[in-house]
Amino acid sequence: MAELLDFEEPIAVLQKEIEALRLMPSTPERLAAIQQLEDRATSLRVEIYATLKPWQRVQVARHPNRPCMLDYVERLFQEFTEVHGDRRFADDTAIVAGFGLYHGQPAAVVGHQKGRDTKQKIYRNFGYARPEGYRKAMRVMKLAEKFREPVIVFIDTPAAYPGIESEERGVAEAIAVNLREMALLDTPIVVVVCGEGGSGGALGLAVGDRVLMQEFGIYSVIPPEGCAAILWRDAQRKVEAAEALKITAPDLLALGLIDEVVKEPPGGAHLDYDRAAALVDEAVGRHLAELQAMTSEARLDARYDKFRDMGHAGQSFVDEGAPAGSRAPGQAG
């Protein structure tokens, strides 16, 4: 059974009852009772997940059993072939990049891989990417452009790795270059935020024609704990910070920062990988078909306009004219 989060306690109670009944000799009555309890657990799960609070969504997005990038790659692509290295320094294992067949069509795939068991997590650096990862991803995306293949991106990272070597090798520059070049890359790009969209570390791979987000993913400028530590001076106020930051998929859709919320199976993607992947597949396939029907020029203009419009007049700012008492412009001192 999947690990349960604190707010899933009522489901845990039912599951214990079910297990207790299963230990006893099976009778038709008991089987019926088990069935009834299981139905109740399912409907309870649907109910709980329909009204998750932002912090609870953060917990789901970080769920230890949440499908990782490679779980989706395995289900959506054939002949996936991973490629390695940025041709400059090293291969970063927190970012996976490669090529595969998407519904028979060659495509490039890049994304963060967090890893599931302890050994994998360490190998993947918990999805904290180093500069090499962003540069590797850009190398593969440039190849995709060269060979006229679409790019499909999976976003799932707590942040870019905040360590000495990251800074020494210019993680800021690596992310910045990706932002600029992805905006100009002449091939369709579909981004799926499938877990944690952790600030610049996420955005460094997430400039696309379409940005989709799974129902229980999050996408934030700073982790709620970090925000709470700075603004509330108390990391324990993360629940309030998660609310205030508006990091859930429905919030971001309303703000116009993502294009579509991709449904997850009842109780979250971690309960049914196949179903979760099928839902992602449907959305990615649909958006890709739309993008491939566009001319390069129209697609690139639309991509520019889409990001250009993030935080627009009326929604995020107003133009009040020059503030009262402001200096007359043009006076050099």
């Binding site: 400028v221 990001f307 412009p329 043009g330």
Partner: protein, 299 residues
């Protein structure tokens, strides 16, 4: 023997001290020398003794870089607090306070004019406005500055002085990194120069977007420049960071900065760089493609 006997007198400093007007003398935090304020201003807020660079306001920055007679743009843009964000204090109140304290509507001033006669659009960040943080207004104004530089065939210069993206505008702030970088991409492909001036501090989302994308990245001495803040890194690796880590000189050594320039040489260096990147005075380079088409001009 009264040699060691102290004549105890009450400390009565305030009255005497107040005879010196506030702000006439400034103590240099680096060499502790008291500097006559007028001397400091005359040297562009660089300590005449140890060359410590004091933080400069956005307005001073524009005055220092541009020739006289420049035009300010988009001064009226003001955040609407799109998330209605509240922590221990309402963001709306923080904004009003910053606006009242700085006389600016957000953490940036954009102006266009000339630098030693070369056409340029200059955006300078204001650290005293919520740590120079980048929200939607900063994002929009730099994007417009890049678009304006494109339309007017002018060079773009952005002076960064910021802790990074503004938390109180959430993911909207984050997306300004992409928005600005996309505009810089167009400027780049239009063949126009972009100089990034990195000053103390330039970190977070500002470093990881426009500050690192200059055709030339020019830093002031000893500025803190980096993606993750030093404290975050120390918490991650659980050890003290080496002296000079994430300072301009460190970035120069690692290959991410083209030049470190003393502020007193900055304008001359910027002008020389622009000339070497092929920028000429406007009159000698009639733009063949970009005829002004009644571009909505403000200010």
């Amino acid at each position: 023997m009264a040699w060691f006997k102290k004549a105890r007198r009450p400390i009565a400093a305030p009255e005497q001290a107040s005879r010196v007007p506030e702000g006439l003398w400034v103590k240099c935090p680096s060499c502790n020398k008291a500097i006559y304020n007028k001397d400091l201003l005359a040297s562009l807020s660089v300590c005449p003794r140890c060359a410590h660079h004091f933080r400069l306001s956005a307005a001073d920055r524009l005055r220092m870089l541009l020739d006289g007679g420049w035009t300010e743009h988009d001064a009226g843009l003001r955040s609407t607090d799109p998330l209605t964000f509240t922590d221990t204090k309402a963001y709306r109140d923080r904004l009003s306070k910053a606006i009242a304290a700085t006389g600016l509507n957000d953490a940036i001033i954009v102006g266009s004019g000339t630098i030693e006669g070369l056409p340029a659009v200059v955006a300078a960040m204001e650290y005293s406005f919520i740590g120079g943080s980048m929200g939607v207004v900063v994002g929009e104004k730099i994007t417009r500055a890049a678009e304006r530089a494109c339309a007017e065939r002018a060079a773009l210069i952005v002076v960064s002085c910021s802790g990074g993206a503004r938390m109180m505008e959430g993911t909207l702030s984050l997306m300004q990194m992409a928005k600005i970088s996309a505009a810089l991409g167009r400027l780049d492909r239009a063949g126009l120069p972009y100089l990034s001036i990195l000053t103390d501090p330039t970190t977070g989302g500002v470093a990881a977007s426009f500050a690192m994308l200059g055709d030339l990245n020019i830093a002031e001495p000893k500025a803190l420049i980096g993606f993750a803040g030093p404290r975050v890194i120390e918490q991650t690796i659980r050890q003290k960071l080496p002296e000079g880590f994430q300072r301009s000189e460190f970035l120069l050594e690692k290959g991410f900065i083209d030049l470190i320039v003393d502020r007193r040489e900055l304008k001359a260096t910027v002008a020389r760089s622009l000339r070497l990147l092929g920028v000429g005075p406007r009159s000698t380079t009639p733009p063949a493609t970009a005829v002004p088409t009644g571009d909505e001009s403000d200010a």
